[in-house]
Amino acid sequence: MSALEQLIAGGRRVVFPRPWPRAVVEGEGWRAAIAKLVEGVLSLVGLWGDADAVHMALADVATAAIGILSFECVDGRYPSVAALHPPALRLERAIRDLWGLEAEGCPDPRPWLDHGRWTLRHPLAAAPLEAADVRPYPFLSAEGEGLHQIPVGPVHAGIIEPGHFRFTANGETVVRLEQRLGYTHKGIEGLMRGAAIGHAAKLAGRASGDSTVAYTLAFSRAVESALGMRPPARAVWLRALMAELERLANHLGDIGGICNDAAFTLMLAQCGILRERVLRAADTCFGHRLMRDRIVPGGVAADLGDDGRPHLQALVREVRQRFPALIELYDNTASLKDRTAGAGIVTTELARLYACGGFVGRASGRAFDARRTPGYAPYDTLAFDVPVFTRGDVNARVLVRLREVEQSLFLIEQILTSLPPGPIRADLSRVGEAREGAALVEGFRGDVLAWLRLDAEGSVSRCHLRDPSWFQWPLLEAAIEGNIVADFPLCNKSFNCAYSGHDL
């Protein structure tokens, strides 16, 4: 039996979670799981709160199997995972903010999403508390000679989401960066409680606008797994098509944006042309530039017509034709490479510890892609490479994206060739009992987790969405140390973490 199977077997199995087993464990089982995280045998996929319980999704590093352990928080407490395994830290702070559940031994007592501005404290708890007075947030200190602080945000200079970055610098060199997020927290998980599936799907698609396809895909697959149903084959393939178009558009935008933050605007202009072409093709084929609300539980809401296919083929042709020159431009502009090479290094050890996904993880040696493991249709029948680099610098994160653009084009071609005919949407099964479902989807910035519980009437009673950025944001703090302040926009853009997807 694998370590994960043993932990699940040691607990009380829950009937009807899908597709991963869930077991309720007590202190001993919970602590045994933490030990396996520390050992590196298991990795943390998610940690979230519920009424009087916390759930922890774990992946077996060797087999890629996933399971969920739950701990019932008698008197509102549970043993802290973060006390021994740092990647869980912000997740535990968020659980305390939303649910009031206390992680015993959590090394950081500060709130994370709660800025003291809500009208209630612990708003999702059965009995929320009255709001307390706003208190200043105690940023971590740094001591030394000649240090000064640079506070940036929440409003930033450009067209970007809000967040606060507190730099401590010695001259130009960053000694410490501390992030404070939560500015875009809207209370999505609260809004999902009791929501009809259709409305909850709209909320999921608006958690993170640039990943609306990935989020609605994760949510829809979680609903379908809960109900024990599969969407029609054509829908499965169309979903992959939309996902690859989203990946393509974002990577093109990012490559241009990263170069722009090194003052190389030519790349931004050229990539911007290609990105615009992708968005227009998405609009022509599926009726929305970002393909919002196109993936729904049961299938997809828009079909690829006969006139759509030649549009996509023309798009692939154009990007294929123009992209090699852009790669060459990036490679041969020495002053640009001088900025990106060696800047913002994330060590392979940190990427492994945080089970960091997406291009951030793959640029630092962690070869994880949810389309491969655990994997989902139709990627199991498609040929594609997962590019991995090890330097972990800004350049490596650009290289991963360059390769993934090529892979997405290849995938789109394969999908257009193999797209089966047939219906695009199935009615949702009525099962008449409470069910749980989950899914892991590879969005453009990494693996998106969706876990939900449906009540007997088929409404959502609890839905948790976990953005890949939870395991990437902290690594940016490590990556910027020792770099100059002026390289922060470059490093930050090379991560392109989500704010709204993270904050919910």
Binding site: H115, R117, W118, T119, L120, P123, P154, V155, A157, G158, I159, I160, E161, P162, G182, Y183, T184, H185, K186, G187, I188, G190, L191, H199, K202, L203, R206, A207, S208, G209, D210, T212, G253, L266, A269, Q270, G272, I273, R275, E276, L279, R289, L290, R292, A325, L329, N332, T333, A498, Y499, S500, G501
Partner: protein, 169 residues
């Protein structure tokens, strides 16, 4: 690099003809902004963009305004880094409780005359986020709004039309 620069000189520009200026935006503005103000602002505008809690979809389309097809700057419209330099405050998203003060401070920092645009469905009425405990309200509940642009997100053409409605270009 040279090849791209030469291409830019020789090939026809990708920039598309502008969409017609939206009459409704101009009409709303005529009520809200005095003729004196419009005379003072002239025919170009500096825009400060603030995300008060959006999902980031609106930001993507605002960013698209700078690409070769839409080329916002040819209309005398540009984005600035500081509210002190701005004529227009372009706000997206429902205003979260965590962003309400920052939005107000940004608005207060703008010298008069100042125009506020609520961009996107969430900015207008919170969209699907209405009632979220993290949400304070629509943009209009926190700062006075002069122009609204509907959409989820509004397409770049619609944003250009609304902005050009302000300058009447």
């Amino acid at each position: 690099m040279l090849r791209f620069l030469l291409e830019g000189l020789v090939r026809r520009p990708l920039t598309e003809p502008p969409p017609p200026a939206e009459d409704s935006a101009a009409a709303e503005l005529a009520d809200a902004v005095t003729l004196t103000a419009r005379r003072k602002l002239g025919r170009s505008l500096s825009i400060r963009m603030v995300d008060a809690g959006s999902c980031n979809g609106c930001e993507l389309e605002i960013n698209a305004l700078g690409n070769a097809f839409y080329d916002l700057e040819r209309f005398g419209l540009r984005f600035v880094a500081s509210p002190r330099h701005a004529d227009v405050l372009l706000v997206t998203g429902p205003v979260t409780r965590n962003m309400a003060d920052a939005l107000k401070a940004c608005h207060q920092a703008m010298p008069q005359p100042r125009i506020v645009i609520a961009l996107g469905d969430c900015a207008r009425d919170c969209g699907v986020f209405k009632g979220g405990f993290g949400v304070q309200g629509a943009v209009g509940d926190v700062v006075p709004v002069d122009v609204e642009v509907p959409g989820c997100p509004p397409e770049p053409d619609k944003i250009v039309a609304a902005l050009r409605g302000l300058t009447r270009r």
